[in-house]
Amino acid sequence: MTLEIQNISKKYNRNKYGLKDFSITIEKGILGLLGPNGAGKSTLLKMIATVSKPTKGVIILNKNNIVKDANYMRKQLGFLPQDFGVYPNLNAFEFLEYIAAMKGIGGSNLKSKIEQLLDGLNLLDAARKPIGSYSGGMKQRVGIAQALLNDPKIVIFDEPTVGLDPEERVRFRNLISDLAQDCIVILSSHIVSDIDTIADQVAVMKNGSLLSYGNQEKLIKHVDQKVFSIIINKEQLGGFKNNQIVVSTSRKEGMLDVRYISETPVEHSIPQQANLEDAYLFLTKRN
């Protein structure tokens, strides 16, 4: 199974692009999409999910152009949008039945499958209550359940961990790893820790363009031997930030321990082991 995105652009007006000449080939496994807000992650995911169409370019799934044949993708797609709603007067069970009907899923096993999903997401006790009374995390879990209704082969999760508590996040990561055995899973986030533990491949985006794509080791090579830490005082921090990419700061005995990225380290700096977050910040902030 291969998903090829070839030179797609999304143009909003003469000068504004949501995505510009974006190309990537995605194989089975987990692709983590990283990028700051406004990078074009959701725009890309909506186009893959056939909700939106590219102004230019094609998206090929198993040699089928899904820009023209959207239903080919829809039959095997599980999509959790970043910002989705529910019908508050339906309960979780009815809502999932409704989504299943929209996806063209039915049969005698449907009810038990919905029960399995709700049970696995710890929603079975509340399944008969109107979704309007659910918390944000519960709604998010209903969203996850609907994405799995049709045994999808392509699963798209746009900022999926919003509203989930730490325990739920761990369970969700396990689920994604399980899904990735047979599917293409695309996961977007601007939180690096959501991606770094599970993604096989990582794509970093900014301003509608692809900055870098590859496995984590490849990305981290961008900042190899460029990450340092230094102890400075509070007053120096402002000037320091103007000249270096600061990754993090922490307090240490009245001073500040600053982790930063630089080609030419400041005197008295200590080299550090680079990680994905360093690479992400380096790629997105260097320009």
Partner: protein, 515 residues
């Protein structure tokens, strides 16, 4: 004061920058164009016996001001009666409620914002009335004061009253939009049809139109040399074959009591806002009910489960639309409060027992109108509830989902009409049966097409109100369900119109999906 002005300004900008407001403005312009009929047209708007005024500046100014006051009071309420609800949906209300702004300040800013929206439309109509004067000019001189005076004294205070009424209804009836609709419907009818025979009672007319109409009637009586009541028609009266005679109307000097009453209406409206301010919910509504209180076990589960993909049942393909229709019906029936179905049931009982001459032309359109909040979002609820990502990435959303919505809507509307349908079948009145089915398809397709076009529900709500109001007044052109006798041409036109609505809705949704 600065924060107060800011709330008004941004609320006004937010509303007027919407697509639905643009459409409302266009419709207002089109309607305003008809306020003073073209000299050779076969309809009239204000006519006293066989008389209309000479087409001078006063006639244009006063007639358009009267028509604006009545027409915009009718539809304006529906245009602005969701300002607080919008703040609730967009969560702006929760932010506002955490600021030091008092209930009165917030509500009054909403009143002003409503008033500005309505005044914008009044201004557009005002400009149109001047253009009409130059378009149909009979050689009379242009007098700007004959336009400004009636507009300032008649529709502007009326719009303020409507702006207040919309806020009051939102505060008192909160989420019960159907009660707002019904209450206003009856209140408006009562205000329009109440007579004001004496000059003192003109002050009780919030629309400010009756004093001018009275003056016009007196002018005609002087010509006819009679004391008895003249026949007055206000609104769109079609089929005037005979050309009307002309009388001279040069405006009027308003008595001081009337002028004071216009200010008093605005002051009283403001006091009303002060009175209801303590009852404003300040967005402390029950968004999440029961679940925290009644099912604490959800948050303290001992056994935490996970999805095991290999254990999940395999899904089976089923491209039928029965499940979709079923859920669409559930959504329609559950919309609004359950006890409101008692009103529907009463309507259905009335359809079954009262004389068919009343049940068919009067009860049926009102009963269908009571479903306005259900129908208005029949094909736009995906967007309203932010479910469109699921809906539009589903399998064949156009052919399956849209069709299911239409089938569900027509089924519900026909269910409500079922007592009348059964009576008609028993009486072997199959033309009525056909007409009712056609009417149900028309109104559902109209709701769907307008919902898809505007991505909202306001336009349909306003239009459905006007249509129902016209139905009650037995205006033949608005009869979409066969309550009045019609020629075969009319029936063919209705069928073509219904099909056209279906095509418009279908093509627009297809365009939206492709985009």
């Amino acid at each position: 004061m600065k924060t107060f002005m800011s709330i008004i300004k941004f609320d006004y900008l937010q509303r007027t920058r919407s697509y639905s407001f643009l459409i409302t403005l266009c419709i207002s312009l089109a309607v305003a164009y008809t306020f003073v009929p073209e000299p050779n047209s076969s309809y009239s708007t204000i006519r006293i016996s066989d008389y209309v005024g000479y087409y001078n500046a006063a006639w244009f100014g006063y007639v358009t001001a009267i028509m604006t006051s009545v027409f915009l009071s009718l539809v304006g309420f529906y245009l602005v009666n969701s300002g607080i609800k919008t703040d609730q949906v967009t969560k702006i209300g929760q932010i506002t409620s955490a600021t030091p702004a008092s209930n009165f300040k917030y509500l009054f800013s909403k009143v002003f914002s409503n008033f500005l929206v309505l005044s914008t439309i009044v201004f557009i109509v005002f400009v149109m009335s001047i253009l009409l004067f130059f378009l149909y000019n009979d050689g009379f001189p242009f007098e700007l004061s004959q336009f400004i005076i009636p507009y300032v004294l008649i529709p502007i205070p009326a719009m303020f009253f409507i702006a207040v009424l919309a806020v009051v209804c939102e505060v008192l009836f909160k989420k019960y939009s159907v009660i707002q609709n019904i209450s206003f419907f009856f209140l408006f009818s009562a205000m329009v049809f109440s007579t004001s025979p004496t000059e003192n009672q003109f002050v009780l007319d919030p629309f400010g139109t009756k004093i001018v109409i009275h003056q016009m009637e007196e002018s005609v009586k002087d010509i006819l040399q009679v004391d008895e009541q003249t026949s007055l028609s206000i609104g769109y009266v079609l089929g005037n074959v005979e050309k009307p005679k002309k009388f001279e109307f040069n405006g009027m000097s308003f008595p001081i009591s009337f002028l004071l009453s216009r200010i008093a209406w605005m002051l009283l409206s403001t006091i009303l806002i002060i009175v209801i301010s303590p009852f404003f919910h300040r967005f402390n509504t029950k968004d999440r009910l029961k679940i925290i209180g009644t099912t604490p076990k959800l948050f303290h589960k001992r056994e935490v489960k996970e999805i095991v993909l290999s254990n999940l049942h395999k899904s089976e393909i089923d491209y039928g639309i029965f499940s979709l229709v079923k859920t669409e019906l559930v959504l329609l029936f559950r919309k609004g409060k359950r006890w409101l179905w008692i009103i529907n049931l009463i309507g259905m009982v009335l359809l079954a027992i009262i004389p068919i001459e009343i049940a068919y032309p009067l009860i049926l359109p009102v009963l269908w109108f009571l479903q306005v909040h259900r129908l208005s979002e029949i094909s736009s609820k995906e967007i309203y509830h932010n479910v469109h990502y699921f809906a539009f990435s589903s399998h064949k959303p156009l052919g399956r989902l849209l069709t299911s919505q239409l089938i569900a809507g027509i089924t519900m509307i026909l269910f409500l009409a079922s007592p009348l349908l059964i009576r008609s079948i028993i009486l072997k009145d199959f033309s009525s049966v056909g007409f009712i089915i056609m009417g149900s398809a028309f109104i559902v397709l109209l709701a769907s097409a307008l919902g898809i076009l505007t991505k909202g529900k306001k336009l349909f709500e306003i239009l459905f109100f006007i249509i129902t109001y016209a139905n009650i007044n037995k205006i033949p052109l608005a009869d979409y369900f066969g309550g009045l006798a019609h020629s075969s041409d009319y029936i063919v036109s209705l069928i073509i119109g219904t099909i056209a609505l279906g095509i418009i809705g279908f093509l627009t949704r297809r365009y939206q999906l492709r985009k």
